[in-house]
């Protein structure tokens, strides 16, 4: 059954949902848009496609401390730190965000043993997907078989209709979210049983045309050209929904402190710098090649799917306009 809420009453819905725990919504921060815990009066933007930083940070935060250490004499005590993710709701994720989560799931969740930090956040967070009414010029998720109006893996699908949002539960958790909203929701309007179908462009790329035989092209001269304009910043990796590299660091002094996990980027020199001073990826050429081969070859070899969702963030944000579309084209993945 489709439920409906007026746009003017969304604030009330957020109030109810945030009682369960943190409610993540795309919030405007200057010209940027990121998923952040909602609080009264926060600048929610559920129209812009799509958030500047991907929704991965809800599940893989920029920084999370996970144990603290304490030393007394020769004794070292380790104490796990509690996470705050209990009963969270992530609201407004796009279909590409959810595809990105699938990619992260394979790495962190569907492993034996799974990653405890990720698993907990994932299991305790209900997801409300929001259909894209109109794709941005950067979007090319249709190339990867994503329907921007229908997200896989969400608990609830939402879409704009008239002056409000239609809501359709996809799981029991989704039903529960709807029933918690009670009288705020009305019966959905007639003729709005499904979100309207949306298609993005694909920059002339075709999935079958995507680079094959990359194994043999490790030393291809094309990398020599591609890396040159790269500045070596980590913007693309931090906004990307499928980049998941992290680092572990300690903060504290000899007697007491904590260990935390934080984002890291394969675009940085220090990422592969070893203690003895050797660096297996010494220049930007090796680092650029690694990043894109990871998306186009290593990840697909291991998990069967190209690690790109067509969200277009690297197209929008790279300061020198070096992006995955350009790389796929240069590798000959353009359909003619």
């Amino acid at each position: 059954m489709i439920r409906y809420i007026q746009e003017s009453r969304l604030e009330e819905l957020f109030r109810i949902l945030s009682r369960r725990g943190p409610l993540y919504l795309p919030l405007a921060e200057g010209p940027s848009l990121s998923f952040r815990p909602w609080s009264e009066g926060a600048p929610v933007d559920l129209k812009t496609v799509n958030s500047t930083v991907s929704a991965k940070e809800i599940f893989l935060p920029r920084e999370e401390a996970y144990f603290c250490y304490r030393r007394a004499g020769r004794e070292l005590a380790l104490e796990p730190l509690e996470q705050e993710a209990a009963n969270a709701v992530a609201f407004g994720l796009r279909a590409c965000d959810l595809r990105g989560l699938e990619m992260l799931d394979r790495v962190f969740k569907d492993q034996d043993p799974p990653d405890g930090l990720y698993l907990r956040r994932r299991e305790q967070t209900a997801i409300v997907a929001l259909a894209c009414a109109e794709p941005a010029p950067y979007c090319f998720c249709s190339l990867f078989g994503i329907d921007p109006a229908r997200a896989g893996g969400a608990d609830l699908q939402a879409w704009w209709h008239g002056e409000g949002l239609c809501l359709k539960a996809l799981t029991a958790a989704g039903e529960e979210l709807l029933s918690s909203a009670g009288e705020l929701l009305h019966e959905g309007p007639a003729g709005a049983e499904e979100p309207p179908r949306v298609e993005t462009g694909n920059f002339g790329l075709k999935l079958e045309g995507l680079p094959a035989g990359l194994r043999e092209r490790f030393d291809d001269p094309v990398w020599e050209e591609l890396y040159r304009s790269c500045l070596g910043c980590g913007a693309c990796t931090y906004i990307c929904p499928t980049c998941y590299c992290f680092d572990l660091e300690d903060f504290g002094h000899q007697e007491k402190g904590e260990r935390y996990r934080c984002w890291d980027s394969c675009m940085f020199r220090e990422f592969t710098l070893m203690a003895g001073g050797h660096n297996p990826r010494p220049t930007r050429k090796e680092r650029v090649r690694n990043r894109f081969l990871h998306k186009l070859q290593y990840y697909p070899e291991r998990y069967g799917e190209i690690a790109c969702t067509g969200c277009g963030r690297c197209l929008r944000s790279c300061p020198v306009d070096l992006n995955i579309v350009q790389v796929i084209r240069a590798l000959g993945g353009e359909s003619r």
């Binding site: 990121s34 050209e225 500045l231 910043c233 980590g234 300061p319």
Partner: protein, 328 residues
């Protein structure tokens, strides 16, 4: 901005003709320029080594990337590099020259008076979605939207870094390929907007900057794109001592930006690439400009990157200097 009545295609053709000759004759082995990016509103760096490469060369209203940043590395590979320089690229060149990051003799500079580069965000807000909806007529932009035709001053749509630029014409070049233009910002009044944005109390200033900097991703795009960031090892990555962790804490974000800006004090050419590069839109240029303004107030007029012989104010002193603190 009168471009000799050349339209951009003609200007591009003229530039291409000039550099093609030098590249084919072996006078330069590489030409740094711009080519069209994925979208009509973006142009990306071009590293041209052949006539075929040069066919992709463009000179349009989106060539915002400061190319000089690439010179030190390219010169470590190439014998002699040609580079197209706008006002900010030229000042960046001086910055690098003064920092002894490159060899003047091995660079050939082709000067391009810059009309200021356009900001897609502002164009989109005005309803421009396709290139065809926008026509540049001298200092005006003719915009076609559903509502009809609108003529607006071109300066309304400039990137902030360009709107504030007092030196759009290159200050150094070996050849000027297009006729000089008319600047739209007087160097003496270039800090006027800062006074209008004065935040009177420390609490307001802290609230503003912590609000802006808390979203910093630590991607270091601002540093990587900066022609004044020339340390071989940045303090942010130094291991011994370790100044900065990789965490996302506000205090570390602010420490990074305060020190980054300070390292550019008196050396920053105000090209605003930091701000343009920031993926989350932090107004980084403001802090650097406030510092440049303070330096002028305390130690006299100085614009970095104008004259490579004039020592940066923080690398020199006069015994009679004033101080920003009580000296008695």
């Amino acid at each position: 901005m009168a471009q000799d009545n050349l339209n951009r295609d003609q200007a591009t053709a003229r530039i291409r003709a000039a550099v093609t000759q030098d590249l084919l004759s072996g006078r330069i082995s590489l030409l740094l320029g711009w080519q069209k990016g994925l979208f009509w509103w973006r142009s990306r760096p071009l590293f041209a080594r052949s006539q075929q490469d040069l066919e992709r060369l463009v000179w349009d209203s989106f060539c915002a990337v400061n190319l000089s940043r690439y010179l030190p590395e390219e010169l470590s590979i190439e014998e002699r590099v040609g580079i197209l320089v706008k006002g900010c690229d030229a000042r960046a060149f001086h910055r690098l020259l003064q920092d002894r990051m490159l060899d003047r003799e091995r660079v050939l500079l082709y000067g391009l008076p810059c009309p200021g580069m356009l900001d897609y965000r502002l164009l989109a807000e005005a309803g421009v979605k396709e290139a065809e909806q926008m026509l540049e007529e001298g200092e005006e932009l003719v915009i076609q939207t559903g509502g009809g035709e609108e003529r607006r001053p071109r300066t309304d749509f400039l990137l902030e870094k360009c709107r504030l630029c007092p030196h759009p014409d290159p200050v150094v070049y070996d050849q000027l390929l297009l006729p000089p233009g008319e600047p739209w910002m007087d160097p003496a009044s270039r800090f006027q907007d800062l006074e209008a944005r004065e935040r009177p109390t420390p609490a307001e200033r802290y609230a503003y900057w912590s609000g802006e900097l808390q979203r910093c991703l630590s991607c270091y795009a601002c540093r990587q794109v900066c022609p004044a960031c020339s340390c071989r090892e940045c303090f942010a990555e130094q291991q011994e001592p370790r100044w900065l962790g990789k965490g996302a804490g506000l205090n570390e974000n602010m420490l990074f930006h305060i020190i980054r800006v300070y390292h550019g004090a008196g050396r920053c050419i105000e090209c605003g690439e930091c701000q343009r590069a920031c993926p989350v839109g932090i107004p980084l240029l403001e802090l650097s400009r406030r510092l440049a303004k303070d330096i002028e107030e305390l130690y006299g007029p100085y614009e970095a990157g104008m004259d490579p012989e004039a020592p940066p104010p923080l690398l020199t002193y006069r015994p009679e200097d004033p101080a920003a603190f009580p000296e008695k």
